[in-house]
Amino acid sequence: MDPILAEIYSTVFQAAPYVIGAYVLMWLVLAVFVVISVNGLKRTEKQLAALEEAVNELAGKQQ
């Protein structure tokens, strides 16, 4: 790596961790949000199932 090239690319190596860090963190934030919303939907569906049972129970009792 002759000195001129080294100088031209000098900032590249120092910047590399920050660039990688930036991209990784960004995707991380997105991934966390996706996970939270998926869990949210699952929890809602669980409640829905519980309600469905209640409805069946009542419907059963009526007939």
């Binding site: 001129i4 090239l5 100088e7 900032t11 920050y18 963190l25 949000f33 569906e45 829905l48």
Partner: protein, 254 residues
């Protein structure tokens, strides 16, 4: 709260997951292009030029600028979702319908996620550019204020008990926050604060081959944002529906 728009709602839900995948793909393409197609931005002058790949290179090449290709689209998307918050807030104030309030809340959630992404990328970029963890530089302060406003929005929502009052306060605060952001954007630039030279980034004039990855990334993040919005919205509407049933079941004494 019956949902009248039968057709429209279903169609949007159907295209939700493909939209998300398309968005991610676009971002990956943009990521690759930003490293291959777009040249490294020229940094400081180098005393002896060198021949690299058939081109005379006279400046240091800056890698840190690569963050820009994701930082800018994410920031724009966060502004857009805050716009949705304000629009749905205004709609709620006029119609008093709960569905507008739910949409405003979900739009603000998306805004929060994208503001966090903007802050993260902006922060690391600043860290390398200025070498310090925080500077009162106009762009960074504006996003920080935007983040505080969005967090304040959610804390306000949790602090109010009565659902209608909560919706009204959230709508009003959403509108004011949306108006405050451009003002903050403007004032932090135009006020000639002696301590900090106002740096106008040269990134506005982009070479075409730098523009391509930027636009693709923008498109990608818009798709992702929309897909997440629909997903969260469906969950919230479902949740509202289950509460309604619970209320009725309880009333009927089940």
């Amino acid at each position: 709260m019956k949902e009248q728009r039968i057709g429209w709602g279903q169609r949007l839900d159907k295209i939700m997951t493909p939209m998300f995948i398309a968005g991610v793909l676009f971002c990956v393409v943009a990521f690759v292009l930003s490293f291959t197609l777009a040249p490294l931005v020229l940094g400081a002058q180098v005393d002896t030029p060198a021949l690299i790949g058939g081109q005379m290179v006279t400046n240091k090449l800056l890698l840190s600028q690569k963050i820009f290709y994701f930082h800018m689209p994410v920031a724009v998307v966060s502004m857009a979702s805050l716009l949705f918050t304000a629009v749905y807030g205004a709609l709620f104030l006029r119609s008093r319908k709960r569905k507008h309030d739910i949409r405003a809340k979900v739009a603000t959630e998306i805004a929060l996620v994208f503001v966090l992404m903007t802050m993260v990328s902006g922060e690391l970029w600043e860290r390398f550019e200025w070498g310090v963890w925080w500077t009162w530089e106009p762009r960074l302060t504006t996003y920080f204020i935007l983040m505080l406003l969005v967090i304040g929005y959610f804390i306000l929502r949790n602090a109010v008990g009565d659902p209608e009052r909560r919706a009204t306060y959230a709508a009003v605060f959403g509108i004011i926050a949306f108006i405050d952001v451009p003002i903050c954007f403007l004032i932090t630039r135009l006020v000639p604060s002696g301590v900090h030279p106002v740096v106008f980034r040269t990134d506005s004039g982009l070479a075409p081959n730098m523009l391509v990855p930027l636009l693709i990334a923008m498109l990608g993040f818009c798709c992702i944002a929309f897909a997440l919005y629909r997903y969260r919205l469906r969950t919230e509407l479902l949740l509202a529906r289950t509460e309604e049933i619970k209320e009725q079941l309880e009333l009927e004494g089940a």
